[in-house]
Each structure stands twice: as C-alpha cells, then as structure tokens.
C-alpha cells in the first residue's frame, strides 16, 4: 500500500486535496453553514495588503487626478483670463460708447434749446508740436464752417476756427496764448477779456482791482468780440487776487472738464452778422462778424460818437438830444451844428406826423437797420 501511494504520490495528494475540498463543499451545502475560519484567514491576509494598495492608489492616482484637475484649472484659468480681458475691453468700449451717447444727447438737447444755428463736429486730431493748442475737426468749408466761427460745447466755449479747409477745420482753443474774447461775470456783471495762458487756465484781464470778483463766480461770453454769442459759459473762477494794474483772475475752462470729443460750430449766432463788404469783395471765406450784443443796462458804456443821418437807430440820450436840437433848428429855419445861429432850445417842438416821429423813438439795439444786408446762411 505504501509503495502504491509512493508511486502515485502526486495523484494521491491530488485526490486527497480534491476530496477534502469536496467534503468541505458538501458540508457547507448540506448544513448551509459557512466555514468562517478560512474566510477570516483569507481576509486577514488580504486586508493589510489591500490597505497598502489603496493608500498607494489614493496617493498616486489621487495625486495624478489632482494634477490633471490642476492642469484643467490652469487651462480654465487662462481661458477665464482671456475672457476677462475681452470683457474688460468690451466694457471699456461700451462705457466709451455710453459716454459718447450721453454727450451727444446733451449736445442734441443743447442744440434744440440754443437759438444759435450750429453744426456738430468731431475732433479728429491736434496740432503738431508739444505746446500746440489747436485741434482739427472733421467739418470744413463744404459743411459751412468758415474761418472765425465760434466753436462751443454745451458746457462752454472751446475756441474759434482759425482755418477752414474743404473737409476739416483748424480750431484755436481758448487756452492758446494768442486767444482772447470778451467775458462777463454772472454776479457782478463785470466785463473783462479772457486770454489763454498756454495751460489749463484762462486769465480774465482788464478788471480793476477795486471791483469784486469772487472765487466760484462764473464768467460768460459777453459777445463784445463778435465771435461768440453772448451768454455762453466760459468757466468758474478758481483764483481771484489783487494785481499790479488789474485783478489776476484765473478761470478753468468749463468746456474742458469732461474732455473734448464732439463740439459744435456756431454757423449763425443769435444776432445777425454785420456785413463786411470789404471781406465779401475779397472773397475770403471768413465768417461775418455778429452785431454788438444787447447793451447791459448796468454797465453799458455810453457811445458818444455821433450816429449817422436820420433813419438810423439811436442808442444813447446824446443821440436823441442831438436829433431834438436838429429838429428844433429845422422848425426855426436854423441849421444846427454848422457853426451859425443857434435855435431856441426852449421852444416847444412841433410833433411830426410821419417818419421823423418814428425815428424819434429809440429802437431796440437788437434790431438790425433795414439797410443792413442780411448775410447769407453758410
């Protein structure tokens, strides 16, 4: 028997092992019971290794996963950065568009309210040179812009057209040292001359030291220069102090507060332009000077110069008195003003029935004499 087992040892072990497992299987199936001991051994042997493997996996694959996530985050971050840059640009563009729309809306409202006939223009460039105080606008003579026209914004005056070309014009800003215009303060009604200083401030010159001008007071155009219509804001007073001969008053231009992009060129002011035959005959393309503005009741200078012959409007008491003496002389047969006999000034004046009576009434200075030819609209 031993020899048989020894000769077929492998087969015998196989049969024994198989039979043992069959018995084990049969016991489990028959009793419906589990052999817990073998399972405990197996699980106990497997669990530490599984824990190590899980730890390795969690660290390596988890790290790899986090690395991939990081790569994704990086790419997403770059994408979001580019999106953010794009949105910033869009935002800036839309803000600029919105600001432009607001400016244009304000300008349109100003144009509707203003009696001036204006045309909108866009600033397309500045003059050459570091200290240049001229700009170029995209409206020229073909659009009716002529040399000498005023350039304004709803906030205030900007400058005047110094050269007009077919497709554009050159505008001298009010900050240019050679620029000057008449101004009038809103509170004390003091007249002065605004002069550019080459910087961001304007000097109001020729105001006596005795006159009172307060900081914050706003100066408006007086219209004395016959370029800017009266009543356009120039700017508030920033500095007002005593000077050697005149007060030193500095004004910051109101039109430059929000930057200059769109401007209005005054084609025709509220007053009709004074005909300038000489300039017309020379066929130079220049704007016609406006008539002098309405005299300010408080500070209007007395014009002592004799007015021309009858038929013209009278602006002063001296004119009216001269006319009265002439009419008295005519009634008494004396030629007044020629160095001869004087008329009786105490004699009652005989009222005239027609034209002379009408001429005795002082017309409003705003009314342009009928003989004045009307300037053609640009």
């Amino acid at each position: 028997m031993d020899g048989l087992l020894g000769r077929y040892r492998n087969l015998s072990v196989l049969v024994i092992v198989i039979m043992a497992q069959l018995v084990l299987l049969a016991v489990q199936v028959k009793n419906n019971q589990d052999v817990r001991l073998i399972r405990v051994w197996a699980v106990t042997a497997i669990t530490p290794l599984a824990r190590v493997l899980e730890g390795i996996r969690a660290n390596t694959f988890g790290l790899a996963g986090e690395y991939w996530d990081l790569l994704e985050v990086r790419s997403r971050n770059q994408s979001m950065k580019s999106d953010l840059d794009r949105l910033k640009l869009e935002n800036q563009y839309l803000k600029a568009e919105l600001a432009t729309a607001k400016r244009i809306e304000a300008m349109a409202g100003f144009v509707q309210r203003s009696p001036n006939k204006t045309i909108g223009a866009r600033i397309i460039g500045t003059g050459a040179g570091m200290n240049s105080k001229v700009v170029f606008i995209d409206r020229g003579s073909t659009a009716g812009v002529l040399k000498g026209m005023a350039v304004i914004t709803p906030d205030g005056i900007v400058g005047k057209v110094t050269a007009s070309y077919p497709t554009g014009s050159q505008v001298m800003l009010i900050t240019d040292p050679t620029f000057a215009c008449g101004v009038l303060s809103d509170k004390s009604r003091i007249h002065g001359t605004a002069r550019g200083q080459g910087n961001n401030q304007i000097l109001i010159d020729y105001i006596q030291n005795e006159q009172t001008v307060l900081v914050g007071e706003i100066f408006y155009t007086s219209g004395d220069d016959r370029i800017f219509p009266k009543g356009l804001p120039v700017g508030p007073v920033r500095v007002a102090r005593q000077g050697k001969l005149f007060k030193e008053i500095y004004v910051s231009p109101a039109a430059f507060d929000r930057g200059l992009e769109e401007v209005l060129v005054v084609l025709e002011g509220v007053h009709l332009p004074i005909p300038d035959l000489a300039s017309q005959s020379s066929s130079s393309a220049e704007a016609k000077l406006m008539p002098p503005p309405e005299a300010d009741a408080a500070a209007a200078p007395v014009d002592a110069s004799p007015r021309p012959a009858s038929g013209q409007g009278f602006a002063t008491d001296a004119d009216r008195l001269l006319q009265r003496y002439r009419s008295l002389g005519e009634q008494q047969g004396v030629s007044y003003g020629n160095g001869g006999r004087l008329p009786n000034f105490n004699a009652p004046a005989v009222p005239r029935t027609s034209a002379p009576k009408a001429s005795a009434v002082a017309p409003s200075p705003n009314i342009t004499p009928p003989s004045t030819p009307r300037a053609p609209n640009p």
Binding site: Q21, I46, A50
Partner: protein, 181 residues
Amino acid sequence: MPPPDFNEANFLEGRRRKSASSSFRPIVFFLVPLFSVLLDIFLPRFVEPTRTLEFPLLITIYFSLMKRQPLAGIIIGAVIGLMQDSLSQQPLGMFGIVKTLVGFFAASVSLRFDVNNPALRFMLCAFFFLFHQFLYWVMVRALLGQIINVNGFDELARALLNSALALPLFLLLDKMRDKEA
C-alpha cells in the same frame, strides 16, 4: 540564416533547461498569490473591464509551470483557489478544486515542455483558462445546481486576452526567480 548546431553540448543544455525547476524566495511565494487575489478584487472597482482578467489563475499556472512539481502545483492551486473562494460569496472549494486541478495538470505538462518558450506559455495559458472555465461551469452546475450562461466566443476572447497578459506578467515574474535547480 545558419543551420542550428546540433552538437552534444546544446542537446544537454536543452534537456537541462527542460528539466530545470525554478525556485523562488518564500516571500515571493507568499506575496505574489496574495497580490493576485487582491488585484482580482481590487482592480474592477476602478476599471470595470479588468473583471475579465483572471490574475489568480495566471499565477497558479505560472508557479505550477515553473516549479515542475505536481505536488507543488496542487498546493499552489488549492491555496489560491480557496483564498479566492474566501473572498467570494460562494461556498469554499469551488475555485479551490478547479485551481487544484489546473495546478496539477500545469505542473504535469511542464515536465514535458520548455515552459520558458513564450509561444508555449501563450498556448498553455489559453488552454488552461478554457479548462478552468469549463470545469468551473461543470462544478457550479453539478454541485451547486446553478446555471451560468457561457458564451463560447466570449470565453475564447477572454482566454486570448489573459494569455496575452500572461506573457509580460510571466516575464516580470521570471525576474523574481532565484536560481534554476
């Protein structure tokens, strides 16, 4: 291509390689089967297709082939099979019996072939995989009275896949051999 040199030295070397038995360190004998069972239950958690792979069977075949001792094959197969049974929900002994038989036959076959040949390894792995699946199907049906749906083409594909995996795995395990007795 020069003709093979059939001298006496080469012939003896071939016989020696055929009859040589590989030895492994005990730690390898302990950890590699354990690791194979662990991979069998661990990998499908994360990669579902790896459920097709039968690591414990491949390790059983490898050690049985390399030991060239049917007794060792029986023990290796029984231990790995029972360990696999222990981690399954079925009664102990199903995989144990099947792998015991696989281990025995693999060790018996290894006595007659050069088991270092990759092509032979591939064919033996495919054969023993199909044998394992068939025997398991028979036992489940006969002893437990359960019916497992088996698709022949799927099993063949799984056999080829496991055999393909066995080639690099066996090469890796070859590195762990101590010496040839």
